[in-house]
């Protein structure tokens, strides 16, 4: 995908081509954020880090979804279920088998990756080249099955393993305290996302997969075992979603409903970022995470300045991802960095 390679040039072009209205909008956004930061500095930093943690989790789910969608053209609705399984596997390793957190952090993604391989070999292989709607429907059925299996094994209510000792404390930033675990989440997710990004865009493996997407027949002709690569790709996408689930379950717990909740958000992220662009998904994930956490702060700060309390809308954060997506799609139907013609 060329979009992933010249992301920087695209960015520059994007900025230079902006209309005055868009630049004004950006200026207004910066002013609003600045106002919020001045009015409530502690809360602002707090929410910014909360948004970053949430955004990185979203990136980890969306990355696998974007890989499968952009590279193989399958809309994998079951991706949220894989994320959920990552959380449950972590819980099982830590609570049921008594293994330490580090072991769970390794076992859960691999376990989820194996489930991913099974799904790919049994179901998704039949869907390559078919209409995307069929893939959406089939993986929706898979989601139901995985959800129900999780409910069977771990029950319908949320489960949460104990946080590891050394990550329970807080880290002092000047204006506020932040849980060490949150910073740990950001670090782990950044490293893994960067790793996958590097693998796809800079290595021979990534190159051969992308070649296979462009022209499968020709790629196989020159000696690439394409089905194997696609399976490996799917393992990778599933494992990173599983890692996201493992990171989240320790802080927030997990329940069977998480499967559909997070696949929705991941879709929103992929659509905002643009189908086919991995860079776009990363950016959009962070954008959605921050929007969800910062908009309430911005609104309440604005309410203080203007004295109009009606601006401070309660509970707007749940709708924010969808509002952002609707707006982005109306202005730019293919998403921020999407390629023209994909899935249209």
């Amino acid at each position: 995908m060329s979009s992933t390679l010249d992301a920087r040039t695209r960015m520059q072009r994007l900025l230079s081509e902006r209309s005055p209205a868009a630049l004004l909008g950006a200026l207004a956004g910066v002013l609003l954020l600045g106002n919020a930061a001045v009015q409530k500095p502690g809360l602002f930093i707090d929410q910014a880090i909360g948004g970053l943690v949430y955004g990185m989790i979203l990136v980890m789910i969306s990355l696998g979804l974007a890989l499968v969608l952009g590279l193989m053209g399958v809309v994998n609705f079951a991706h949220g279920a894989l994320f959920m399984l990552g959380g449950y596997f972590t819980y099982a390793t830590m609570a049921s088998y008594g293994l330490p957190f580090w072991a769970a952090l390794l076992i859960a993604p691999i376990g989820v990756g194996i489930v991913g391989i099974v799904i790919e070999v049994v179901v998704l292989r039949r869907l390559y080249g078919k209409e995307p709607i069929i893939g959406l429907l089939a993986t929706f059925g898979l989601t139901l099955m995985i959800e129900e299996a999780a409910r069977f094994v771990w029950g319908a209510s949320a489960v949460q393993p104990a946080k590891p000792e050394f990550l329970t404390g807080g880290t002092d930033l000047i204006v506020t305290q932040v849980g060490t675990y949150r910073l740990f989440t950001v670090a782990v997710s950044t490293i893994s996302v960067a790793g996958v990004y590097y693998l796809i865009t800079k290595t021979d493996f990534g190159l051969s997969v992308r070649a296979g997407v462009q022209d499968g027949e020709m790629t196989e002709f020159v000696g690439v075992n394409l089905p194997l690569r696609f399976t490996a790709m799917f393992f990778l996408g599933s494992a990173i979603a599983g890692l996201g689930g493992a990171l989240r379950v320790v802080e927030f717990g997990i329940d069977p409903g998480a499967a559909e909740e997070f696949v929705l958000l991941a879709f929103v992220v992929v659509v905002i970022g643009g189908v086919g662009s991995i860079f776009g998904s990363v950016l959009a994930g962070l954008l959605v995470g921050w929007a969800q956490f910062l908009v309430p702060v911005v609104l309440s700060a604005l309410a203080i300045v203007t004295g109009v309390s009606a601006i401070n809308v309660q509970g707007i954060s749940d709708i924010i991802p969808f509002l952002v997506m609707i707006v982005v799609l109306l202005i730019r139907p293919r998403g921020l960095f999407g390629e023209e013609g994909l899935l249209e």
């Binding site: 059925g141 069977f152 309660q314």
Partner: protein
């Protein structure tokens, strides 16, 4: 289908039957459903029959969009929600001039709900039908989620938030005695099931008329081969928009019935799970056929109720039992089996479903009979 041509050639009754088999089937369904389903042997309670009819109408409305136009809506619960919430809110609060709880208020609410859905569906369609089917699915989902969260937030104390609306949402002509609902109008008392049946029949016949009209044929053309349809001068975008509108209106009609059936508005009916169930029911039933959604909704609700009540598997009969297996622990998780069935259906014949399977078995049998007779 080999018998079709000979029937038509002879004319008279067989051809009339062939032509009106869908309305006839609907009438037979309505008459037979309740005695069959509510008998002690099967499910044993009354409310399920009317609920089945309501969901059939809802899924049939959905299928106008998916099966006939080829647009997959993953947020159809929002249309159902319009029909549930708008009349309930109006009856509960009264309008500016109308008295709260009055029959007229309710009727105004119904008309308002259908009109609002029509306008909303038209605008939504205008915004999003042009973007391709995957985007359509995701955008309907996004819009539906946005509406869900708005209702959940209980703006202006109107929607009741997560509790829904439970008190005083019914108009005066609905009588409730010990869980049984009846309609009292003009000095007559009509059982709720038959009231639903009338609306169901009218709604389904209207759908049938739409489907077999030139408009409906054009919808099929749009879904079969959009480029060809456009090349032949069909304004495909406009047809898609109207399909969203009609589909929404029929779903909202089912929502109105559901509000009375549940005597209130529950937020679950707006959730993503309701939207997902709708897709499941339609695909399981068979989206290619008019009766597909009917069969799908029936099987789904039947399985849901039957399997969750069904605890012991006794073989061969409950009187003479050789083997007894306690299935109650497993059958609670019936969705797993249904999910598996769904995946198989989608992978093998995504547009045929159960009804398509029944039809193919029936036509095979007919062919065999003819061979034997010859």
């Amino acid at each position: 289908m080999s018998g079709e041509s000979t029937d038509r050639a002879t004319g008279g009754l067989p051809s009339m039957f062939e032509r009106y088999k869908i309305p006839l089937g609907l009438v037979v369904l309505v008459v037979a459903l309740r005695p069959l389903i509510t008998s002690e042997m099967v499910l044993g309670y009354n409310a399920i029959a009317s609920k089945m009819l309501i969901m059939m109408l809802f899924v049939a409305g959905f299928n106008l969009l998916f099966g006939y136009t080829g647009l997959l809506s993953f947020g159809h619960a929002m249309f159902l929600g319009f029909g549930i919430y708008i009349p309930a809110i109006l009856v509960l609060n009264g309008a500016w001039v109308l008295p709260a709880g009055g029959n007229i208020t309710f009727l105004v609410g119904v008309i308002l709900a259908l009109a609002a859905v029509a306008v909303y569906g038209y605008l939504l369609g205008t915004l999003i039908v042009g973007m391709g089917e995957i985007y359509f699915a995701l955008l309907t989902l996004a819009f539906s989620q946005a509406i869900y969260f708005i209702v959940l937030r209980n703006p202006g104390e109107l929607t009741g938030g997560s509790n829904g609306l439970t008190q005083g949402t019914l108009p005066d002509f609905v009588e409730q005695t010990r869980g049984e609902i009846a309609i009292e109008a003009f000095g007559l008392s009509l059982d709720w099931y038959w009231a639903v049946a009338v609306v169901f029949l009218l709604g389904m016949l209207a759908l049938w008329q739409i489907v077999r009209s030139p408009f409906g044929r054009s919808l099929v053309a749009v879904s079969e081969n959009e480029q060809l349809a456009r090349a032949m001068g069909v304004d495909t975008t406009s047809y898609k928009i109207w399909s969203v509108t009609f589909s929404g209106v029929f779903s909202a009609l089912a929502g109105v019935l559901l509000m009375i059936q549940n005597s209130g508005a529950a937020i679950e009916n707006l959730s993503v799970f309701t939207s997902g169930d709708t897709v499941l029911m339609a695909v399981l039933g068979g989206v290619n056929y008019f009766f597909g959604p009917v069969v799908g909704a029936f099987s789904w609700l039947f399985v849901e109720d039957f399997l969750t009540n069904f605890e012991l598997w006794q073989f061969p009969l409950s009187e003479v039992t050789f083997v007894t297996v306690d299935l109650s622990d497993i059958l609670v998780y019936w969705q797993f089996l249904l999910g598996a069935l769904f995946v198989v259906v989608v992978l093998t014949a995504p547009e045929e479903g159960i009804w398509g399977y029944i039809r193919s078995v029936a036509s095979w049998l007919r062919k065999r009979m003819q061979q034997v007779r010859a």
